[in-house]
């Protein structure tokens, strides 16, 4: 009996890894045989980024059961911290090692931001996370746009005004240039690196879910009061899930930054519309369904491109969004999830009495 269950989860996870592997091999074949348009080729790394974002957001939304509307914000801090490091270290170490360290830095910085935001917000009984993460995403994006960092022989110089006020020496170099962002980040990203990172993200998330910690996280999602009286440390496990989710988004950001020659924080890439888009991937793929997130991220990213030839493709996308909305509103899982949120929101109105526990 127990054995059966173990193998069932293991098999499920195996299928997920296998799908990614097959997709990778397929793409390699298409590339090698010259059957892939340059447009599609350019989409490969972004695809990996979206998959990582969707999978990691699902950890917060589906597994932890908290709504986050600022996932792009974590991607943003990951992107800028990773690119900043690579820019500083360009030429100072082998490319592979530099990229690897940049990824770790992006993960760490985004993870720390997750903890810093999570500590005050996740401790509250209510679900204020949605609002705070939304604000966080917007604030980060705007902060980065007025951030100037330069480097010369005297070390680093910071300013929030303009690059002149950095007062750099002769040989000084502006690294982060306000709204112009970071230019000349080494192009370390590749499809293979992206797929590897997807595998690592999946490995972490799937194994986390199917462990002691994962059970604790899901018990909080299913019934906070019962979890608490069963001896589960609510704050600890909420923070754990949320910061791991943020860290993986940070890694996706580093990949993003190293795929572009210029990194700027725009509403398009790091704004709330991006966060919402990732949330749509998660919702459409199934809340709590990791494999579903991968598939829906791929389909919803590819679809507009595949339909580019059709002049009416906008209408089609529109229709798809409608379907997404419908699924969001009507699929049993989503309804359940919304009920959970509703229950939380209503118990959360500050001046209302604590809900009766029966």
């Amino acid at each position: 009996m127990k054995k059966m269950k173990m193998t069932k989860t293991a098999k499920n996870n195996f299928v997920t890894y296998f799908i990614v592997l097959i997709a990778y091999i397929l793409v390699q074949i298409l590339l090698k045989s010259g059957h892939m348009s340059s447009l599609m080729e350019g989409l490969l790394v972004p695809l990996c980024i979206y998959v990582m974002l969707a999978v990691s957001l699902n950890l917060t939304v589906g597994i932890l059961g908290e709504l986050s509307l600022g996932h792009a914000g974590f991607m943003c801090v990951g992107a800028f911290s990773g690119a900043f490091f690579s820019k500083c270290m360009d030429g100072a170490m082998p490319d592979g090692i530099r990229f690897f360290i940049a990824l770790l830095i992006g993960a760490a910085v985004a993870g720390v931001f997750g903890i810093v935001i999570g500590i005050p917000v996740l401790r509250l009984k209510g679900d204020y996370l949605a609002i705070v993460t939304l604000a966080f995403g917007e604030i980060i994006k705007n902060l980065v746009n007025v951030l100037y960092i330069g480097k010369d022989n005297n070390g680093f110089h910071f300013s929030m005004k303009d690059s002149i006020s950095l007062h750099l020496g002769e040989e000084g170099q502006v690294i982060v240039n306000g709204a112009q962002g970071i230019t000349g980040t080494p192009h370390d990203a590749s499809f293979t690196a992206g797929v590897l990172l997807i595998f690592i993200s999946l490995f972490i998330i799937l194994n986390l879910i199917n462990s002691r910690d994962g059970r604790a996280i899901m018990s909080i999602r299913d019934n906070r009061i019962a979890a608490e009286s069963t001896g589960i440390n609510i704050t600890k496990y909420k923070l754990m899930a949320f910061s791991i989710s943020a860290a993986i988004a940070g890694v996706a950001g580093v990949l993003y930054a190293h795929n572009l020659s210029t990194l700027t924080a725009l509403p398009k890439n790091f704004g709330y519309n991006m966060s919402i888009m990732i949330l749509v991937f998660v919702v459409l793929g199934g809340i709590g369904n990791i494999r579903g997130s991968i598939i829906s991220a791929v389909i919803l990213t590819l679809l507009p491109e595949l339909l580019r030839g059709l002049s009416d493709y906008r209408m089609l996308i529109y229709a798809i969004v409608l379907i997404a909305m419908m699924l969001f509103n009507w699929s049993p899982k989503a309804i359940e999830w919304k009920d959970k949120l509703k229950e939380k929101y209503f118990s959360k109105i500050p001046f209302r009495k604590e809900k009766e526990v029966k």
Binding site: K2, L208, S211, R215, E228, S229, G231, I232, N233
Partner: protein, 252 residues
């Protein structure tokens, strides 16, 4: 020796004194009943004992240790586990995993060991599976270990809640209307199970129940609540023959 000693416990919601000057003294190994009409404040007493609500006044002592005002999680760690009147299972987890959440603090491995599937992960998970199955067997739920908790019939969900509570290795078990929604047959079985749990796990049990057959059948002592106040307290047979108690119940 007293396992649970409560003095002068009081809480108000707005103008309502839901629990007013509540006292109780439960001996180790006792099977104790808390009864009273609807809205008398029974569940509120459980919520006070488990730190869901903080009392306005009063002291709660578990094995002579003052646990008043502790957080719910720390009260569980101190040794009180409970079930809920409105069943609160982890409904998207399997029956087995529900119990394994209960084992959480007694079977440990680190996050790293879990993610990287180090040997300790397999060892501890196996031990957890075995222990959880043992507990499920007590409640004849071992056949449904792989079901989602929400797919269990009502009576079994109540049993699963007890199994999960026991998994946390409490000194005191609080059961809030364990027989609610059960038919007389199931209630009979439940009475046997509760006795068995007390004997096998050396447990002290405080239970809320409306089913008088169950109460008179298994409880050794009773406290009767009415409008938040203690109406009668003592040995089951004495309390149930108390004219005041009879009026309170018949008056309902």
């Amino acid at each position: 020796m007293s396992l649970l000693e409560v003095k002068n416990l009081t809480i108000s919601f707005g103008g309502l004194r839901a629990v007013d000057d509540f006292n109780i003294d439960i001996k180790r190994g006792q099977l104790y009943g808390l009864i009273g009409p609807n809205g008398a404040g029974k569940t509120t007493v459980f919520n006070l004992l488990t730190g869901v609500y903080k009392p306005d006044e009063g002291i709660i002592k578990l094995e002579d240790k003052d646990i008043t005002g502790l957080k719910t999680i720390d009260i569980n760690k101190a040794g009180i586990a409970r079930t809920f009147q409105n069943i609160r299972l982890f409904k998207d987890l399997t029956v087995l995993d529900n119990v394994k959440v209960g084992l959480h603090n007694h079977y440990r491995y680190s996050t790293i060991e879990g993610i990287f599937r180090l040997p300790k992960y397999y060892k501890v998970e196996k031990a957890m599976d075995e222990r959880a199955m043992e507990l499920l067997k007590v409640f004849e739920l071992d056949g449904e270990a792989d079901y989602l908790a929400s797919n269990l019939p009502y009576g079994k969900q109540r049993k699963l809640e007890i199994a999960r509570a026991l998994a946390t290795e409490p000194r005191l078990l609080l059961l809030d209307e364990p027989a609610a929604g059960m038919n007389p047959n199931e209630t009979g079985e439940l009475m046997d199970t509760i006795r068995f749990v007390r004997d096998k796990f050396d447990m002290t049990i405080l239970l809320i129940e409306h089913d008088m057959k169950l109460v008179s059948g298994i409880c050794e002592a009773l406290t009767v609540l009415n409008f938040g106040r203690i109406l009668a307290q003592g040995q089951t047979s004495t309390v149930l023959n108390d004219p005041q108690v009879i009026t309170a119940y018949l008056g309902e």
